[in-house]
Amino acid sequence: MSDNRLGARQVELEVLRYNPDRDETPSYQRYSVPCKNEWCMLDALNYLKDHIDPTLAYRWSCHMQVCGSCGMMINGEPKLACKAMVRDYEGVIRLEPLAHFPIERDLVSVADDFMDKLKRVKPYLIPAKPKTLEEGEYKQTPAQMQRYRRFSMCINCMLCYAACPEYGLTKSKFIGPAAITLAHRYNLDSRDGGRDERQEEIATNEGVWECTFVGACSDVCPKHVDPASALQQVKVASTVDWYLEHFMSWNKK
């Protein structure tokens, strides 16, 4: 390998490999990859696949922290491989697929469960009174937009699920940080009238009440969405709902 041409340093990667056709259990494989100073972990993986081992499987697409495909555990922390810089790590770097998800192959995890959960929380506008084209658009002030803007930045990378011990301990029963945050994002939207439908899913034991506010989801979120904040707000709002329903029956919606 013409490493010097790259102006590179050799970086030791320990990658979890799992081939469903051949392996009973996953095991680690060591690679020595020449990495440039400006490389992110995804660059190192791409070099590894192109020049050292073409059998390695991992997901990626945009290489710019937008698509949310390259989430993986780097030294045990959920990270986007395109955001984690190789130069920030010392010694052997351990790469594993996202925790709490079944492993499809190597660094590819099975995302089906998360996709089902996204559908359940109806993450789209459900207008209270649908407008006809003639009536015009659904308008919103900048202040109304600001209410939910942060929670709309989610790229569905699932790092928060890999960080959330509740999701792992409940064996994926918990609807989880990203899906509930997205539900809350639409609940906060002034153009939306679908909160009751979403509450059916999220104001439940498998929903927001499974959250014990570990806060790890917000720590690892690459887009600073702060799911922990969204979930606590859902808890407050659901509690207010309960009191209104039980003690102020005249106040029913």
């Binding site: 469903p20 301990l169 806060g215």
Partner: protein
């Protein structure tokens, strides 16, 4: 090619040793046990008070035991830790939007501290 996803079981009893943030979470949760025990002692005190002066004097004497004082110092330290950790995350649950801006987190958690201190002063003043 066949689909045979591998499911990795996580330990139900040792998962929180894996990351420091999980340990911090457990520390916050465990400290509440001491607040619970303190509350029970307080309720026992109320019960003794209702039984008459002699019983209540006995309860007060029990509180002055070295073991009891040790527990109370420990419970105070842990409940302070518990309160600090919760006040610091309060802005996540109660964001206050003014116009297009959210108030800084320090204002929301600061308000909690101010109310806490005022209430403590009030209770101490009333008790002494």
């Amino acid at each position: 090619m066949s689909r045979r996803p591998y499911v990795h079981e996580i330990s139900r009893t040792a998962w929180f040793f894996k990351r420091p943030r999980y340990m911090r979470y457990m520390a916050r949760e465990v400290t509440c046990i001491f607040i619970g025990i303190y509350t029970i002692i307080l309720l026992v005190g109320l019960a003794r008070l209702s039984e008459g002066q002699a019983q209540y004097e006995g309860f007060l004497a029990a509180l002055r035991q070295p073991l009891s004082i040790m527990f109370h110092v420990l419970a105070l330290a842990f409940s302070l830790y518990n309160s600090f950790t919760w006040f610091n995350v309060a802005p996540k649950a109660l964001p206050i939007q003014v116009g297009e801006q959210f108030m800084p987190d320090s204002v929301v958690s600061g308000a909690h501290y101010v109310v806490w201190i005022l209430l403590s002063i009030f209770i101490l003043y009333w008790a002494i």
